[in-house]
């Protein structure tokens, strides 16, 4: 099984590098263009959220991505040491409300939940862990 780890600074310009890395990791699964884009997008959304909200784009802080190939799918773990994401605060966004209030952010988690088969947040040894699984 193919497992990889990437450590990358909390800098938004690095999102492109993360996307390229995820796409190359997923290549062996022979996904359609849309399936691949969905996975890359979901990881991008989590990483952007962690960089902006948990780590305030502090380039001295890192995200650690662990990509694990399993027989029935792909597992993605993203670790950071910023402020933990409070999952209890997540409410499925009402798009009409977004339109009325001209709200810009907050749609990322909706994408992640739609794309991934499971999304879990936990904490271990002072690190926040976001663990996602996609059946492929």
């Amino acid at each position: 099984m193919n497992n990889q780890t990437l450590k990358i600074a909390c800098k938004l310009d690095n999102l492109r590098n993360i996307r390229e890395y995820i796409a190359s990791f997923c290549a062996s699964k022979r996904l359609s263009e849309i399936e691949l884009n969905n996975i890359v997008l979901a990881i991008d959304e989590i990483c952007a959220n962690l960089m902006i909200h948990s780590n305030k784009c502090d380039e001295n802080k890192e995200l650690e991505l662990k990509l694990i190939e399993e027989t029935d799918g792909l597992k993605f773990e993203i670790l950071d040491q910023g402020k933990a994401y409070d999952t209890t605060k997540y409410i499925t966004p009402d798009l009409n409300h977004y339109v009325k209030t001209a709200k810009k952010g907050g749609l990322g988690m909706m994408i992640v939940k739609k794309v991934m088969d499971s999304v879990e947040f936990s904490e271990k040894n002072g690190k926040n862990i976001c663990c996602m699984f996609k059946r492929v």
Partner: protein
């Protein structure tokens, strides 16, 4: 990412080229705000060079829908790849904006 803006008669065509993610959504926001401020009949987004979009990019378009409606301006997307269209549909924005195949259709809708 690069955004080209062209005034064509009663509308403005914006052409984002590259990947529209959280690192450059402010740039798209500024270009769209400037286009809306021109008080034309609408803005057509040429998506032929748009390789990728994340929620940060989608959020830019959603946040101006209301203002554009109030100003009687239309927002129409054209030349959108299936990959990008799928993201619009997944988030539910495809029902809030108009997506057409070609530029002449977008122009016709805006000039209606």
């Amino acid at each position: 990412m690069q955004v080209n803006a062209t005034k064509e008669g009663h509308l403005i065509v914006l052409e984002p080229i590259g990947e529209l993610d959280a690192s450059c959504s402010v740039q798209m926001d500024n270009e769209l705000a400037a286009a809306i401020a021109e008080n034309t009949k609408g803005v057509a987004i040429n998506c032929s060079g748009l390789e990728y979009i994340s929620s940060a990019g989608l959020g830019v378009f959603i946040s101006y829908i209301n203002e554009m409606e109030q100003k009687n301006q239309k927002l129409v997307f054209f030349n959108m790849s299936e990959k990008i269209k799928h993201v619009f549909e997944m988030v539910g924005i495809a029902q809030l904006v108009q997506i057409v195949a070609e530029k002449n259709e977008a122009i016709a809708i805006i000039n209606e």
